[in-house]
């Protein structure tokens, strides 16, 4: 037991050479995998070649996003090691670094490196958009709005509009944001812009979330489906849609949407919640699986999963005090609507609404919309 170290079973010797020991995630994208392997070999031969290293790191970060696989982020960082801590890191290195830091929730460092990149290249649209994201996630909405405004001159209209709509959607202007997205996603505009599928999926999911906040549930449903049709594998969209279905008590659809063996923990959480609420046969197994994943992350000292762990702790473990501690710690790091919501839910369940005072202040000052948030905030404020 001491030596188990998180292992799921006892070690064994495979019976034959053909026994499969591991299925690589790259199996789903063989071309990208071949490209990665070739670049990796080239970088290994010539580790100080910036161009090669940037291409490899870029591939890794893209794979990390598509597969929701943080393992690739560490590889990207290692490929960039020669330029990582130098005073004159090239701008593309700074931007990739910030992306990795943002993914690991090291938002302050991400911001520093993006500001360094933008000081050298104010027209770097990617750096600007990433900065807007970091500002928004950490609750700096004026900063995010300014970053989005500055995107207008350097990026396609759909990028700047979606960026701004994202901020507006969280600061009391959801209706305007919804309409702006409607316009930019209109068939004529989209064609003119020849916007990529990924871009339109991003904007469409955002519009669905805003529709939800405006209580336009039929529109939300339609938009989530439209986004899924554009990019069926996007984990963010699946998670947002699953949350929408959970709120409508459509648990069977969540279970259909997310396989029980999904490697993506954010998705597994939703499935575990749906299974628990509907009394599905595999509810306990998937919950155990998720608990082991949280434990494995804790063992290495990672704290990126606080939001999900708070939800799990509140709903599955039914430990409101522990969930509240996690949710409050999470709120110090990120301040998105989901973070506000779990903090309020945990504070109410733990009968300590005063613990979510900061969250209530943030909701009041940003004018965050949404029926569920409003209801929780009302309850937490008390009579």
């Amino acid at each position: 037991m001491i030596f188990a170290s998180g292992a799921l079973a006892a070690p064994y010797r495979p019976q034959s050479d053909s026994e499969i020991v591991e299925t690589l995630p790259a199996g789903t994208a063989p071309a990208a995998d071949r490209a990665t392997r070739a670049l990796r070999a080239a970088v290994a031969r010539d580790p100080n070649n910036l161009d090669l290293a940037l291409r490899l790191a870029g591939l890794y970060v893209t794979r990390a996003r598509i597969d929701s696989d943080p393992r690739q982020l560490g590889r990207a960082e290692a490929a960039l090691a020669p330029w990582w801590n130098t005073a004159d890191s090239p701008v593309p290195v700074l931007v990739l670094r910030a992306t990795i830091e943002q993914s690991n929730h090291v938002f302050a460092d991400a911001r520093t490196h993006l500001e360094r990149a933008l000081a050298q290249q104010p027209a770097n649209a990617q750096a600007r958009l990433t900065l807007a994201t970091v500002q928004q996630v950490t609750g700096d909405f004026p900063g995010a709005a300014e970053s989005c405004a500055r995107l207008a001159d350097v990026a396609a209209a759909i990028v700047a509009v979606t960026c701004q709509a994202s901020v507006d959607g969280l600061t009391g202007r959801a209706a305007q944001a919804y309409d702006a997205l409607d316009r930019v996603l209109a068939p004529s505009a989209a064609r003119k812009d020849s916007a990529s599928v990924g871009l339109r999926s991003w904007a469409t999911t955002l519009q669905a979330e805003i529709a939800e906040r405006l209580d336009r549930l039929e529109d939300a449903e339609r938009l989530y489906r439209a986004s899924r049709a554009l990019d069926p594998h996007d984990a963010y969209t699946i998670a947002a849609y699953a949350d929408f279905l959970l709120d409508q008590q459509r648990y069977a659809e969540v279970i259909d949407l997310i396989p029980g063996d999904t490697p993506v923990d954010t998705l597994l959480l939703r499935r575990v919640q749906a299974a628990a609420r509907s009394g599905a046969a595999d509810a306990a197994d998937t919950a155990d699986d998720l608990a082991q994943r949280f434990a494995a992350l804790r063992a290495r000292g990672d704290r990126v999963h606080l939001r999900e762990e708070a939800r799990y702790t509140l709903e599955i473990l039914r430990a409101p005090d522990a969930a509240l501690a996690l949710a409050v710690e999470n709120w110090r790091v990120q301040k998105e609507p989901l973070d506000a919501r779990i903090a309020l839910e945990a504070a109410l369940a733990a009968h300590r609404p005063q613990a979510a005072r900061e969250v209530l202040q943030a909701i009041a000052s940003t004018h965050l919309e949404g029926a569920r948030i409003a209801e929780l905030a009302r309850e937490a404020r008390g009579p």
Binding site: V21, L24, R71, D289, A299, G301
Partner: protein, 376 residues
């Protein structure tokens, strides 16, 4: 090209959940006993694939054959990424076997390893550098086990590659506490020792005048008498406990246990009719020698490693003294308070001694004839 690639990436940043799958970890479990270190090192197959391009047939799957054929290379690689040393002397690694296992994020190659240091390990230096060159967020999760109970956890990262672990200090304290606990437990559940002390202490608040008992005049007098008795008992059993544990003297256990029972019987009888020397400390010392052999057999049953002997001897003895002291502190004030009552010397002392005498007679018969009569 790069610009476009990165740009495509940035558009999805809003849509990127930061938490997913799992970053790379290896799990290193080491167990230290004397100069030998044994353990296993679980390394993710995905990570080995990133180093060795294991997927030769490019089917997106790694089978055992693809690993088995590269084992020699993997061994050389792994051994070059982990250095164990103690007191400045390296402990060379040998990889003894390979297995596979699963962790939360997939299949792992289990590398069983063994290292031998030049001397018993008191402090272990671990130098860990697996994978950091290709994965900056890789972590090495170490579980270090020493002796019987203590486990230390540590995390190695690209910025923390070398860590030192003091095994002696940590485990010594843990072990010492364990032995003290054993000592306390032994005296608390060893009714023969307890009743011997009770029989010895019951008359400590009285003075013998011919065939009668009279109460002592003051508490300090009683305490002096108790202190003498207890010190003599402690000294005596410490001597024989040490001699027996260090294998200087050894007596057959059945003989020792029978004599202990006899010592309890004689002490109880002496409370009724004087048969032993008048000075209680002499009685306590003489019989204490016997009881020490009894304690030693308990310690022997714990099967201590030779290195821990002095520590265990000290801890166990300390535990016995603590248990004994608790009895004294509870019993002596109690009997002091009742010493002047008419009934204490006649009825209380006599009947308690009689009960102890009967019990010890039972033990004596049991132990000398190897029977089982009493429930304790």
């Amino acid at each position: 090209m790069i610009g476009r690639l990165l740009f495509a990436l940035c558009f999805s940043l809003f849509a990127a959940p930061a938490f997913a799958h799992k970053p790379s970890d290896s799990y290193l479990a080491l167990r230290v006993s004397d100069a030998a270190i044994e353990g296993h090192w679980d390394i993710a197959v995905r990570d080995l694939d990133a180093v060795f391009d294991l997927d030769r047939n490019a089917d997106g799957k790694i089978d055992w054959g693809e690993i088995d054929g590269r084992r020699a290379e993997i061994d050389v690689y792994a051994a070059s990424r982990l250095a164990l040393s103690s007191a400045g002397n390296p402990c060379p690694l040998t990889i003894t076997d390979h297995e596979v296992d699963r962790h939360t994020d997939g299949g792992y190659l289990v590398v069983n390893l063994r290292a031998v240091c030049s001397a018993p390990v008191d402090a272990l230096d671990v130098d860990y550098s697996l994978l950091f060159d290709i994965d900056a967020l890789h972590r090495g999760l170490l579980k270090l086990e020493t002796g019987s109970a203590s486990v230390t956890s540590a995390v190695f990262s690209a910025s923390t590659r070398r860590q030192s672990f003091t095994l002696g200090g940590l485990s010594a304290w843990t072990q010492l506490r364990g032995y003290i606990g054993e000592g306390i437990e032994h005296i608390a559940t060893g009714f023969d020792h307890l009743l011997f002390l009770v029989a010895l202490l019951l008359p400590s608040v009285l003075v013998r005048r011919g065939r009668h008992w009279e109460p002592v005049t003051s508490f300090p007098r009683a305490v002096r008498s108790v202190a003498g008795t207890v010190t003599a008992f402690t000294l005596a059993h410490s001597i024989t406990l040490s001699l027996a544990t260090l294998s200087v003297v050894s007596l057959p256990s059945r003989l020792v246990e029978s004599l202990i029972a006899l010592s309890v019987l004689l002490t109880a009888l002496d409370n009724l009719w004087p048969i032993l020397p008048r000075r209680r400390w002499q009685v306590a010392f003489a019989f204490g020698l016997l009881h020490g052999f009894g304690f030693a057999s308990v310690l022997a049953d714990l099967q201590l490693p030779p290195r821990a002997l002095a520590l265990s001897l000290f801890g166990f003895n300390l535990g016995v003294e603590i248990g004994q002291l608790v009895l004294v502190v509870v019993l002596v004030p109690l009997v002091y308070l009742v010493r002047r009552t008419r009934t204490y010397p006649r009825t209380g002392l006599a009947s308690a001694s009689a009960v102890i005498g009967v019990l010890s007679t039972g033990w004596l018969i049991e132990r000398s004839l190897d029977l089982r009569l009493l429930p304790f």
